[in-house]
């Protein structure tokens, strides 16, 4: 079982998901499976294309909230390890935004834990997102889907 607690990081600069995942995998040789999710800024063409994305955070609450989420996730499933890395600041198309990885003896725990953590990062964590398109900057409000996703875990 886990010898170390969940690793949670809030970063203002670009990170390498492959390096993070390699380090996480190396740290958990006992795990039978590792599930990871990477969220990145979409690259697309046309007038709707996102030129930049900015995530704002609130120092007093964002990281403490992510740590509480990680603790809840780790308590709910039998995990060997959990990694949550989340960006703030301005990002460009193709940049990584969020990486969640869960290591477990059995794959279902790892899949469920990563899914749970992502749903909560998406609509229950202290981030505010705005996108820049040809029309300028626009704040992104949570979608109804995000709330439905969250309701699955109640």
């Amino acid at each position: 079982m886990a010898v170390s607690g969940p690793a949670v990081r809030l970063l203002g600069e670009d990170f390498s998901p492959t390096d993070e995942l390699a380090a996480f995998t190396a740290a958990h040789p006992e795990a039978g499976g590792i599930v990871s999710f990477l969220g990145q800024v979409r690259c697309e063409g046309g007038v709707q294309a996102v030129e930049a994305l900015e995530l704002k955070h609130y120092a007093a609450m964002t990281l403490p909230g992510m740590e509480a989420l990680a603790a809840t996730t780790a308590k709910r499933w039998a995990l060997d390890g959990l990694l949550i890395v989340h960006r703030f600041g301005v990002m460009r198309p193709g940049d990584p935004i969020v990486l969640v990885a869960a290591a477990a003896r059995h794959r279902r725990d790892a899949f469920a834990a990563a899914d749970f953590a992502m749903d909560h990062l998406k609509s229950q964590s202290w981030f505010w997102k705005r996108e820049k398109t040809a029309a300028g900057w626009r704040w992104i409000e949570p979608r109804a889907d995000d709330h439905r996703d969250l309701a699955r875990w109640l």
């Binding site: 704002k56 609450m61 998406k122 609509s123 981030f127 505010w128 704040w139 992104i140 409000e141």
Partner: protein, 79 residues
């Protein structure tokens, strides 16, 4: 020592600033001294408040003391 209001997300755009130092007082007096258009947004149904990093429940009476930080939190969207 003043208290501090913190405006997150789109509220920062509406306020034209991320933070504002205010004289410690009951919240209704602090809000009454702001631009009414901003005050209306801050009192919006979907805006939560956190005092010194702790989320407040709805209808909780707030009296700002010296050094307090009151944050206004619109709906979030991460990931």
């Amino acid at each position: 020592m003043p208290a501090k209001l913190v405006f997150l997300g789109r509220l920062e755009d509406i306020a034209g600033m991320g933070e504002l130092a205010v004289t410690p007082a009951p919240l209704e007096l602090v809000l009454a001294a702001l631009d009414p258009a901003l005050a209306v947004e801050l009192l919006g149904e979907r805006v939560r408040m956190a005092l010194n990093g702790s989320l407040l429940s709805d209808n909780e009476a707030v009296v700002l003391a010296e050094g307090d930080e009151l944050a206004f939190l619109p709906p979030v969207s991460g990931g």
